[in-house]
């Protein structure tokens, strides 16, 4: 707008007419958002209700909120152990996956590695493979190595299966790093390892953080491997331990399972709040697009 005088001040009616379509669309979108947000709000509401308040129906507001269901389910489900296990698997497993992926990502982003296409093919296979097709041999191998029902066994499997996605994500980030610095370093006579260690690693730290976070979430969600490879409750991650919530003992009044599932997601919620701008913006998509 260069000529203010020409345009009459917008009357409320004109403004309303102009924005009406967008407002309508927004209302439809809000209804859609309710489909995703509604269940979560209802569950959080249920989780802070007393047994009596629960009987008033799912939409009744928790007039006298209580944390009693949380304390009760925390103690009887041993959520402390479950959360600690999940935390261990997710932190160490993701670290292993990233460590395995760093040099392959460096090579694939910077060099004409012979057999590049084959390596990508293998990575995509590892990424896409339904877990059930390798479950039995992995079970057998872990048993032969006495790693069945151990934390370290599960961590190794998680690390190996996290690697392909990490290579693709990190390669995406490393490709975007300008090459001037390393060119100078090469001219100074630096070795591949020095370039990797002193130049690439520090510069790709943001990428490493994104990859690590995604892997952390993936392991936190993982269920099949943990269910099959672990037998003792002391080793269970949250996902497997939580299965017990779907039993008559807990399902009699919904505040207990609701509280339990909120507890199980708290670390992820914290992580989500810290990183969702990066994650939901699709920063990792470019890596997958190859």
């Amino acid at each position: 707008m260069s000529d203010y005088s020409a345009a009459p001040p917008p009357t409320p009616l004109a403004f309303a007419l102009r924005t009406a379509p967008k407002v309508t669309a927004t209302i439809i979108m809000l209804a859609l958002a309710a489909v995703w947000l509604g269940p979560i709000i209802l569950i959080v509401m249920t989780s802070i209700k007393s047994n009596e308040a629960f009987l008033a129906g799912p939409f009744a507001l928790p007039t006298s909120p209580t944390l009693a269901p949380y304390f009760s389910v925390w103690a009887s489900m041993q959520f402390g152990t479950l959360l600690a296990n999940s935390l261990l698997y997710a932190t160490v497993g993701s670290a292993l996956a990233v460590l395995l992926a760093l040099v392959p990502a460096f090579g694939l982003s910077r060099m004409e590695v012979p057999g590049k296409r084959i390596i990508f093919g293998l990575l995509l296979t590892g990424l896409m493979l339904p877990q059930q097709t390798v479950l039995i041999p992995l079970y057998d191998t872990l048993r032969a190595l006495n790693l069945l029902d151990t934390r370290i066994g599960l961590i190794i499997v998680h690390g190996a299966y996290g690697m392909p996605a990490q290579v693709l994500i990190l390669r995406g980030f490393m490709t975007a790093i300008p090459r001037e610095i390393e060119k100078a370093a090469y001219l100074e006579g630096a070795s591949d390892f020095q370039i990797f260690w002193k130049v690439m690693l520090p510069l790709s730290l943001p990428g490493i953080l994104v990859g690590y976070t995604l892997n952390f979430i993936a392991i936190w969600k993982e269920f099949v491997f943990a269910l099959v490879f672990l037998n003792h409750e002391a080793n269970f991650p949250v996902t497997v331990g939580m299965l017990k919530l779907n039993s008559d003992r807990y399902m009699a009044v919904f505040n207990l399972p609701a509280a339990g599932l909120v507890i199980s997601q708290i670390p992820i919620i914290i992580l989500f709040i810290l990183t969702y701008r990066q994650l939901s913006g699709g920063n990792f998509v470019g890596a997958v697009k190859g």
Binding site: L32, P130, I136, T141, L227, V228, M242, M251, S280, G290
Partner: protein, 308 residues
């Protein structure tokens, strides 16, 4: 197709390894080793086991040739599970992928206020474990205390109320829709990123030509997004074939095995019925179906999107 390993490629790798030993060892040999141990060998061993009768405990396995496969083709649970996987895939292609695309388009075209809020809300369930999602919907869809039936009645759709998990005709679709609910954020994010790459001029030109939004989506955005669609469809296929967690937490195959999917059947046969050989045969079936579907998508939708 040229052979994967010929003399020339081996020679070029040796040359590369001389020049870049560090990258050759940790960047090429290591990932290939990890692949062989955790993917290659297990697949081969699964195929091998599928010719044996084995309870998983005894040191000896009985070679029974194709008997497991003969059994497979007469196993009605296998067919039910296979068809269920395809139903699951159909729901996932229709609901989360379509809705995810629509939301992404609406946000990119700035058709609504508060788009960032919507994106956050729809993406959040992607980060939730499916076990938690399953438990959540067990509560929401419960016939006595659940909120969903109340909502249906309140908006005058009470006649739609069903036994969401008890009715064998719809229990599987209930699971598939719950899975779609949790999955929608992923296609949305992919399309959102993809639409950001569509040149603004293309969109503006179409606008000026007088294209409506439906036309823009169909004739301008979607053709440009073919590689993204290919990736999304691949993800959807494998997500559907992997279906397991929701079945395990919500129905365990009930009622009457009508919500069994292949992934869950493998688990049941192998680790509950101790039929490791037959479990392996079912695994091979999953593998064959995944390869067939992946090949179909790669040849149809995606010519060169994975080229590197």
């Amino acid at each position: 197709m040229t052979p994967i390993l010929n003399e020339q490629s081996v020679q070029s790798f040796v040359d590369f390894a001389r020049q870049h030993t560090f990258v050759a060892l940790l960047g090429v040999v290591l990932p290939i080793l990890v692949f062989c141990v955790f993917v290659g060998y297990p697949i081969v061993y699964t195929i091998y086991l599928s010719f044996f009768d084995w309870n998983g405990m005894t040191p000896t396995k009985h070679f029974i040739g194709l008997a497991n496969y003969v059994y497979l083709f007469h196993d009605k649970y296998f067919y039910v599970a296979l068809v269920n996987n395809f139903k699951w895939l159909a729901v996932t292609l229709l609901f989360p992928v379509t809705v995810g695309f629509l939301i992404a388009y609406v946000m990119r075209a700035r058709l609504v206020y508060g788009a960032a809020f919507l994106r956050t809300v729809v993406f959040f369930p992607v980060t939730m474990s499916l076990i938690a999602v399953g438990l959540m919907f067990l509560l929401i869809l419960n016939p006595l205390f659940g909120a969903f039936d109340d909502v249906l009645r309140a908006i005058g759709l009470g006649f739609l109320v069903r036994e969401w998990f008890g009715d064998y005709r719809i229990a599987l679709y209930t699971l598939a829709f719950v899975s779609g609910w949790a999955f929608t954020g992923l296609p949305m994010v992919f399309y959102f990123a993809g639409l950001g790459d569509v040149p603004k001029e293309t969109m503006d030109a179409a606008r000026i030509e007088g294209a409506g939004h439906l036309r823009m989506m169909w004739s301008v955005a979607l053709p440009q997004l073919r590689p993204v669609t290919a990736v999304v469809v691949m993800l959807t296929i494998f997500e559907s074939l992997k279906a397991f967690d929701l079945v395990a937490v919500m129905t365990r195959g009930a009622p009457f095995g009508t919500t069994n999917v292949l992934g869950y059947l493998v688990y049941l046969e192998t680790f509950w019925n101790s039929r490791f050989g037959y479990g392996a045969t079912l695994s091979v079936a999953i593998l064959v179906v995944s390869i067939a579907l992946a090949t179909l998508v790669l040849s149809r939708l995606l010519k060169g999107a994975f080229d590197v």
